[in-house]
């Protein structure tokens, strides 16, 4: 057991180190210079000032040092929990920006993934036994999963948001409000949350439903089901076994999805101008904000690693085969 987790943890640390290094490297390989474009946007009237300011900012962000030094500095401040200051949104610390965005992304993605997982699985399992559902809901599911996401999101924003006017098509809460724990504010928050949520929910729903339906059909036609049926076991029992077996891959799927949850839903947040992590990442790329990009990617890396670790643990608990394997290895 200890060896199993020891080895896992070693691999995780190694992955973390490599991923973070790549995160640090990639933005620096992009063409252009973030300080120059920051100054270009400020459209200064005097070029001598521009030169002095360039040096000043370069020094302030430590970009005047040799690359190896920058890399070392990066690890030193990272280990102290300091992600630096955003260039795009100067002088806000990257940590503040990310912390401000993460709840919005989580609030959007967690429910959409979890609810679509439950509903999708339920539909899928049901569809496997009902001709009628199989012929109506399932084709819809295929269409939904095959729809280009951007298109679906725009369609929703346009139809329910702009044409019907039922929901606001942009923003995270009403422009005339201040965040506060009042019903007006929460209502506004919900209103703005609904469309992006719905778009994510619909797309994920189809995938889960199809997966579950196929698994159940496969399980119901497998040898053990036939055997159980031949023994005269009640249909409910057969189905429960089938369902349990069909759940395993779906659980893995869910865990993987949850791992990427912190990455935010880039497209959703852009289409609905929702102020989550995805929006931040886009801005960081466009403005070549090294520090914000590193910070956001770091978050994703950590998220994925944690999720993977949890899968490892859950498998030990859920899947007897892994347990057996582990004990075999421990001997």
């Amino acid at each position: 057991m200890r060896r199993y987790f020891g080895r896992k943890i070693f691999v995780y640390v190694l992955t973390f180190f490599a991923a973070v290094t790549i995160n640090w490297m990639i933005p620096r390989l992009m063409p252009g210079d973030p300080i120059k474009s920051r100054l270009a946007r400020a459209s200064l009237s005097d070029s001598a000032a521009a030169e002095a300011l360039y040096d000043y900012f370069n020094k302030m962000f430590g970009l005047d040092q040799p690359l190896w030094q920058q890399y070392l500095n990066f690890w030193v401040s990272l280990l102290q929990g300091d992600l630096g200051i955003s260039i795009w949104n100067f002088p806000t610390p990257v940590t503040d920006l990310i912390m401000g965005a993460v709840p919005y992304s989580l609030g959007l993605l967690l429910p959409s993934i979890v609810i679509s997982w439950f509903v999708g699985n339920w539909f899928g399992a049901y569809a496997a036994r009902s001709k009628w559902l199989d012929n109506t809901i399932l084709p819809l599911g295929y269409v939904l999963t095959a729809t280009p996401y951007m298109w679906l999101a725009l369609l929703l924003a346009w139809s329910l948001g702009i044409v019907a006017g039922w929901f606001p098509a942009a923003g995270s809460y009403g422009l005339s409000l201040q965040p506060a724990f009042t019903w007006t504010f929460i209502a506004s928050l919900l209103e703005h949350w609904f469309l992006p949520f719905l778009s994510l929910f619909l797309v994920a729903l189809g995938g889960w439903a199809i997966g579950m339906r196929n698994m159940i059909i496969y399980e119901l036609e497998s040898e053990y089901s036939n055997y159980l049926q031949a023994l005269g076991a009640p249909r409910r029992l057969v189905r429960r076994y089938a369902f349990r077996n069909a759940m395993l891959p779906q659980i893995t799927g869910l865990a993987v999805q949850l791992g990427t949850v912190v990455a935010g839903a880039l497209l959703t947040e852009i289409v609905f101008s929702y102020q989550g992590l995805g929006y931040l990442i886009l801005q960081a790329i466009q403005n070549q904000d090294f520090f914000l990009l590193q910070g956001a990617f770091l978050f994703i890396v950590i998220g994925v690693l944690i999720a993977n670790f949890i899968i490892d643990v859950v498998y030990v608990l859920v899947d007897p085969r892994v347990r057996v394997q582990m004990q075999g290895g421990a001997k």
Partner: protein, 572 residues
């Protein structure tokens, strides 16, 4: 299966709570408030990222309204009437050739209750002594600034650059000495200044990722001193998301005034929606800056004036104005000067030296200068026989400019010049532009101002640096013209006759050499909705102030626009 549903409700609730709590930390405390629609002005189009700094001395990243609504300048300059309007200063005059005396307004207070005095002005000017200050160059020709008494400041210059000084007086905001003098250099230059204390018409209310909210300052000095009262109690400035979002928000009346380029706005103005622009018909917008085609004059064949003229002559401006912009812009004057500087344009010089836009002229110019198609590929070669293949860069995603670049490339091809339009990312473009590694680029980095000097400085500034950050991207070296630009700077701003004379000399050289090619006047993009606020600036009414929240535009009369707004009559 039944128990599975029980998961859903708490999960959904928890996630919602998470989002609402997050929102809670964003705001700056304050009571739960919403802003009554009838008293709130919604603006958009200036802020491209979340508001993050309220430092008026920072390089231009400050939240929309920081300068203008909160911090104020000594003068305003109203370009439509060409008037300097005394603001924090009551008057200012040159007492001799190199001494300028400023009388400050009495009874002005900072929003924390302290008096505004000469010390504040001296302190602000002296911030320029820091090398990384945006107006550090002021101290190359300013010797000292001293407070004579509480309301008089005397400036002594080693060299009087009248035009630049007049420009400084209305572009730079004054900060309170009593709060800022304790700050470090770094804090003064780049600190976020989260709790801005100014003299202006508005106070900081709150902000979030996608908005900035200002609240009316009931104790604003101008209410009593000048009888000006700003109409909206709240101003909510919305961060830009996309043109599409902005357009629908203006149409629905969720944003009262939007200041970015919305293609197709002309149809909406004509279509009887409640959408207005400054002019009710073409060109709809006030010309705000000139878009230039900048050739890199250090590279062949762009180092040849005849070639540059031929290139300029080939451009089909009608196509750009009518088809790319749908009539929202106008072709620039051959000198490139904005209509507000009309009186400084020497029409005689223009008539004699300007190259007409005509493909025939372009072809003739090319032939005379020895550019011929020797290898029969349809494109001319240099007199030395080298092939010409130029690339014209504009930022990727700037769709109107991308279209215009395509038109330029096509019309150049018609006379035999090979120009390929190329669309690098903005950052990469800045890199190439500043270091001089481009052939042709479109640029418009100077705005309306009190003097054409700002344009000539942009076009001809010397010496050429390794990195050209803000001026003379084409690296055109001509000592003679740069001296004339200096001369222009040292003429008192009232002496229009003399300015015109020197400007005429500059225009002659410019048109003869054409180191930078004027294309069109970008509009002061502004679309307003009349459902909540009326009496917007318009050529049809008495409110002629510039309808803009762009940086630097509140001082150009934008703040006065706010005093002219009127609430729309109650729902019909």
């Amino acid at each position: 299966m039944r128990n599975r549903y029980r998961f859903l409700i708490p999960l959904a609730l928890v996630s919602l709570l998470a989002t609402s709590c997050a929102g809670d930390t964003e705001g700056d405390g304050g009571a739960a408030g919403d802003y009554p629609r009838a008293e709130t002005l919604y603006t958009g189009g200036t802020q491209w990222g979340p508001p993050s700094t309220w430092n008026p001395l920072d390089t231009g990243g400050h939240a929309t309204g920081t300068v203008g609504l909160v911090y104020e300048t000594l003068f305003l300059y109203e370009p439509q009437s060409r008037e300097y309007i005394p603001w924090l200063a009551e008057s200012g005059e040159w007492v001799d050739d190199t001494t300028y005396e400023l009388k400050l307004r009495q009874g002005v207070t900072w929003s924390d209750g302290e008096d505004f005095t000469a010390d504040d002005v001296v302190f602000t000017v002296e911030v320029g002594k820091y090398e990384a200050s945006t107006y550090h160059n002021l101290w190359e020709w300013l010797e000292s600034a001293e407070a004579v008494d509480d309301h008089t400041v005397r400036f002594t210059f080693s060299q009087a650059n009248y035009a630049q000084w007049a420009n400084w007086l209305y572009s730079n905001a004054i900060v309170p000495e009593h709060l800022w003098s304790e700050r470090s250099e770094e804090e003064i230059l780049t600190g976020a200044n989260e709790d801005p204390v100014g003299t202006g018409a508005y106070l900081y209310e709150t902000h979030d990722q996608d908005r900035q909210v200002w609240k009316k300052n009931e104790d604003w000095w101008a209410i009593e001193a000048l009888g000006h009262e700003v109409a909206p109690t709240y101003i909510v400035d919305v961060v830009n998301t996309s043109n599409e979002a902005a357009l629908s928000q203006v149409l629905q009346g969720n944003i009262d005034m939007n200041n970015n380029f919305l293609p197709g706005i002309a149809q909406l103005v004509q279509g009887g929606y409640q959408v207005q622009t400054y002019y009710p018909e073409e060109p709809y917008m006030i010309p705000a800056n000139t878009a230039w085609l900048v050739p890199n004059t250090t590279k062949a064949p762009m180092d040849d004036p005849e070639f540059r003229k031929a290139l300029s002559a080939s451009i089909d401006m009608d196509e750009i104005v009518n088809n790319v912009y749908g009539g929202l812009v106008t072709e620039a004057d051959p000198t490139g000067l904005l209509p507000v500087w009309e009186e400084y344009i020497d029409t005689g010089v223009v008539e004699e030296y300007a190259t007409p836009r005509d493909p025939k002229v372009a072809k003739d110019l090319l032939k005379e200068a020895g550019y011929e198609d020797t290898d029969d590929d349809g494109f001319v070669e240099t007199p030395d026989g080298d092939p010409i293949d130029l690339s014209l860069i504009v930022p990727s995603g700037w769709t109107d400019w991308m279209e215009a670049a395509r038109v330029i490339s096509e019309s150049a091809a018609e006379v035999g010049i090979k120009v390929t339009a190329d669309f690098p990312e903005f950052n990469a473009l800045v890199d190439q532009r500043n270091s001089g590694e481009f052939d042709l680029v479109i640029n418009n980095e100077r705005q309306i101002s009190n003097t054409p000097w700002t344009y000539y400085d942009y076009m001809f500034r010397l010496p050429i640096q390794e990195q050209q950050g803000t001026t003379n991207f084409g690296r055109y070296e001509n000592e003679e013209i740069w001296e004339l630009v200096g001369e222009l700077d040292s003429i008192p701003v009232e002496d229009t006759e003399k300015i015109r004379e020197v400007a005429g000399k500059i225009q002659r050289i410019h048109l003869e050499e054409l180191p930078i090619i004027p294309l069109w006047y970008n509009g002061l993009w502004s679309q307003t909705n009349t459902s909540v606020w009326t009496n917007w600036p318009s050529s049809e009414t008495d409110n002629n102030y510039l309808p803009s929240t762009w940086r630097g535009y509140f001082q150009l009369g934008g703040i006065l626009m706010l005093t002219e707004l009127e609430p729309a009559p109650e729902e019909e």
